[in-house]
C-alpha cells in the first residue's frame, strides 16, 4: 500500500491502493433510501411489544426519549432488540421511479461482541445519562 499509482484515473474510488474494477460497479453505490436525518439510539427498557429508548439527533445533538413497537423494526433486526442495544433511526425518503416516498427506518447495529464493544455500549449509555435508570444491586 506504500506505492501509490500517481497516474490519472477517470473515476474509481479504489484508485489509491488498488487496481481498477469496472467503473460502473466501482464509483457508484446505489442508494435506495436517501437519509435526511439520523438519530443514534439505545434501548433502555422493553415492556412486551413496547421498546423504550433514548436517542440523540446527530445534527443538533439534542436528546429525545422515543418509544416504538417491536413491529416497527424490520423483522431481521427484531432478535437484536435487547436492553442496551444500539440502533440508528433514519428519516428520509425512498425513490421509486419518479416518485419519492417519505420513510423512516430503525436499523439496529450488528457487531460481534467483545469486552471492548460492551464497554463502548456502556460509555454510550453513560453519555446519554442512562446510568441512573439502571437498577443497582
Amino acid at each position: 500500500m506504500e506505492d501509490f499509482n500517481l497516474n490519472s484515473v477517470a473515476c474509481a474510488i479504489e484508485d489509491a491502493p488498488s487496481e481498477k474494477l469496472n467503473e460502473e460497479q466501482e464509483n457508484v453505490i446505489d442508494v435506495t433510501f436517501q437519509i435526511e436525518n439520523k438519530w443514534e439510539g439505545v434501548v433502555v427498557d422493553i415492556d412486551g411489544e413496547i421498546v423504550y429508548s433514548k436517542m440523540k439527533e446527530v445534527s443538533s445533538g439534542d436528546d429525545y426519549e422515543y418509544n416504538f413497537k417491536k413491529k416497527d423494526v424490520p423483522s431481521d433486526d427484531r432478535p437484536l432488540i435487547t436492553e442496551g442495544a444500539l440502533f440508528n433511526f433514519y428519516s428520509g425518503y425512498q425513490v421509486k421511479g419518479k416518485t419519492r416516498k417519505n420513510s423512516r427506518i430503525i436499523k439496529f447495529r450488528r457487531q460481534l461482541n467483545t469486552p471492548k464493544t460492551i464497554d463502548a455500549i456502556l460509555d454510550k449509555m453513560n453519555a446519554m445519562g442512562i446510568a441512573d435508570l439502571i437498577e443497582k444491586h
Binding site: I13, E14, A16, Q25, V28, T32, S75, N88
Partner: protein, 221 residues
C-alpha cells in the same frame, strides 16, 4: 460526525482491509451465517458480480461489499451510515483475523458538481496554482491534484492522501472527485486492525474538515 459545508452529488465512505481472500466465499449468506446480516437482508442482497476466485460484489440497502483476492472493502453510499460500515469492518476483521494484513484504509470519496464549466475549471486551477505556469504556457489548466501527508502515531503510521480529479462519467458534467484516503499501517503485531478501527473516532471528521477547508479555500468564489 461533523457536517460537510458542501453538498456532494454522490458520496462514499469505505473501509478497505488488505489480506488474502477467496472472494467467492464471502457471499451474502456467509454474512448471514455469521450474524452480520439478517436473513432477509442477505436473501435480498443484489449480487453485482461473483467470480469465485476473482471478485464478489454485492449491495444491501445500506452497504456494499467488494472482495477481491487481496482486498476486502466495505462501503456505503451515505456518509451518515458510516457506523454500520465500521461495525461490519470490525466484525469481519475479528472473523477472518488470520487472513488480514496489518494495513487498512478509511476512505471518504465525494462527487462535487459545479454549476458550470467555468467554475469547475477555476476550482482545478486554484488547487493546482495554475497561474504559476503563465510564463511558460498559454492558458494553463490544472487537470488534477494530489497531496499526501505522513503522520507518525502511537502504534501506527497514517498516510493521508487528498486527491482531486475530474469525473469522466457522461452523467456527471462539471464534476470533481474529491477523495481523502487514510492509509493506516500498524507498527506492532499485537495491535489488531479491528481494535484500531473500533477506537478510531477522528478519521472521518478529519477527512470532512479537510474537505470543508478545501471548499473554503478553492471552491468558493
Amino acid at each position: 460526525m461533523i457536517d460537510l459545508s458542501l453538498k456532494p452529488s454522490e458520496s462514499i465512505y469505505e473501509i478497505e482491509i488488505l489480506g488474502s481472500f477467496i472472494p467467492g466465499n464471502y457471499n451474502p449468506m456467509w454474512f448471514f451465517s455469521n450474524d452480520l446480516l439478517g436473513k432477509e437482508e442477505a436473501e435480498n442482497a443484489t449480487i453485482l458480480k461473483a467470480e469465485h476466485e476473482v471478485v464478489m460484489i454485492f449491495t444491501t440497502n445500506f452497504i456494499r461489499i467488494i472482495v477481491e483476492k487481496n482486498k476486502f472493502r466495505i462501503g456505503t453510499g451515505q456518509l451518515l451510515s458510516f457506523d454500520l460500515v465500521k461495525d461490519m469492518a470490525i466484525s469481519v476483521c475479528k472473523l477472518i483475523k488470520d487472513s488480514i494484513l496489518n494495513e487498512f484504509s478509511i476512505e471518504t470519496c465525494l462527487h462535487i458538481t459545479f454549476k458550470n464549466e467555468k467554475l469547475f475549471l477555476k476550482a482545478l486551477n486554484s488547487l493546482g496554482n495554475a497561474e504559476r505556469w503563465n510564463n511558460l504556457l498559454a492558458n494553463p489548466q490544472s487537470i488534477e491534484f494530489e497531496v499526501q501527508s505522513k503522520i507518525d502515531l502511537p502504534n501506527k503510521k497514517l498516510k493521508r492522501i487528498l486527491r482531486v480529479s475530474p469525473c469522466g462519467r457522461s452523467d456527471m458534467k462539471n464534476t470533481l472527485h474529491v477523495y481523502v484516503f487514510n492509509v493506516f499501517t500498524l507498527k506492532k503485531e499485537k495491535t489488531s486492525v479491528w481494535e484500531v478501527i473500533e477506537e478510531d473516532t477522528t478519521t472521518l471528521n478529519a477527512s470532512i474538515t479537510l474537505i470543508n477547508d478545501l471548499n473554503d479555500l478553492h471552491f468558493k468564489n
